[in-house]
Symmetry: none
Subunit: 241 residues, 2 copies
DNA sequence: AGAGACTAATGAGTAATGCTCACCGTGTCC
DNA sequence: GGACACGGTGAGCATTACTCATTAGTCTCT
């Protein structure tokens, strides 16, 4: 169980920290945060519980540090990769694909992030939050590029689009994260990108765009009104209910 | 702290269960699952810890039951409400709006569901899962209606659309759930509905023969509607945004 | 090389907490 | 009115995050 024959040997600080984090990561991923005991982590790292607490103040801090290390390794070369992709659609797809690929490759780690770290109050203070912010910020920039190039509407609500992309990606990967199914990052990235792209795209750029807009607006208006005037039941959509 | 003067009194089973669930709900919502102790729940319910365990096998089961009760109350009249809404856009919006409204009205409860219950392995066994499944199933049906009516592409990937809608809604409400901001269910529902609707809509709504067809339909609809009352309309939904 | 000092490592110990169980008292039924 | 079934109790158990006084490597200085 222990691995190493428990002798009192003094190791450099970095080595100890690395041992602990490696052990913690393994067990956290295998059993989840709540079902992992610090004693077990310490044992696997070849030390006693008290030693662990010399390097990490709390079990939660250990979780945070483990996730931070993972996150940093994942996004080390991210910016550079993105720079190599040209065109709004491609860049959008890359962002979505990258997200899905990480989930696909490291589901246990992503479960930790999504289920354990993110809900915790100290999430905002963790570097994971900051890294993630920079990451989603990139998405908004890509959308802005799309607007600038004329591919997207000028009136797109950026925040909602960001939520649409990442929310959808995560939701899509849920069953997989629960170990109940498969998904293909490639296919999903294509599908999501297309849907989002179409949702944002200015349709019929050259051919009677004004008519397009007009017709669509009218369609929606009529639909709404038809719903409202339907005498059978009061359609209390919108407010109230 | 206790509330009631702790006497040995025999209450009907239902009353005891109700007391426990009421106390549990209050404290779970206030402090989260992990930071709530069964002793505290028992005290608030006016009994001793052992009594609580006579009615609920584990703390987790108590959480599950509390959430189930909430979920059932929320969606009691849901199907009926949906039936009262006509038109694909409106029905889509109702679904999204309902989801957002529940989050807005009961953030603490939704945090429990999203952060505590859903990640747990027994989620699949809970009635919350089944209710939720029926709920999202409705979304797929609305999309199918949209396809049948010719508003949406025939090739739409249904699962992805469902993920898009609910993923986006939840992602959008995150900051609010963490108590770090506000959001408007009305505005968000409009924005999400429009984005999704456009993402699914058959493009080329405004090219050639399709326009003629559409215009004809609109003319007829407007004529029909002009006969009816002219209600104050909500200018809210607009285009894109 | 040897002594001393510094401090990493230890492991026994603590408080909190989910959960159990043998017993006790109360309401009910004959 | 007596007995019994069972609901309620609270002391107690096992686990676990975290602490701290003690122990013993290792580095420095002579």
């Amino acid at each position: 169980m222990t691995g190493r024959p428990r002798r009192r040997e003094r190791l450099p600080r970095d080595a100890r920290v690395a041992d602990i984090m490696r052990a913690a990561r393994t067990i956290f991923c295998a059993k989840g945060y709540a079902d992992t005991s610090t004693a077990e982590i310490a044992a696997r790292a070849g030390m006693v519980e008290g030693t662990l607490y010399r390097y990490f103040a709390t079990k939660r801090e250990l979780l945070t540090r483990v996730v931070e290390a993972f996150y940093e390794s994942i996004f080390a070369d991210y910016e550079q990769q993105l720079q190599g992709v040209r065109g709004t659609w491609n860049r959008l797809r890359f962002l979505i694909w990258k997200h899905l690929s990480v989930i696909h490759a490291e589901p246990a780690m992503c479960r930790l992030i999504m289920y354990e770290l993110r809900p915790s109050p100290q999430y905002r203070q963790s570097s994971v939050y900051k890294l993630n912010q920079r990451y989603t910020q990139r998405t908004l920039e890509v959308i802005k590029e799309g607007i600038a190039s004329g591919e997207f509407h000028r009136t797109v609500a950026l925040r909602i689009v960001r939520d649409l992309i990442f929310g959808c990606a995560e939701h899509h990967a849920w069953a997989y994260l629960r170990g109940e199914g498969q998904f293909s990052p490639d296919d999903a990235a294509d599908a999501i990108t297309n849907l989002v792209y179409r949702g944002l795209a200015r349709e019929g750029v050259g051919t009677g765009a004004v008519v397009d807009e007009s017709v669509q607006r009218l369609e929606q208006a009529v639909q709404r009104l038809e719903g409202l005037s339907e005498p059978r039941r009061r359609p209390r959509h919108g407010r109230g209910a």
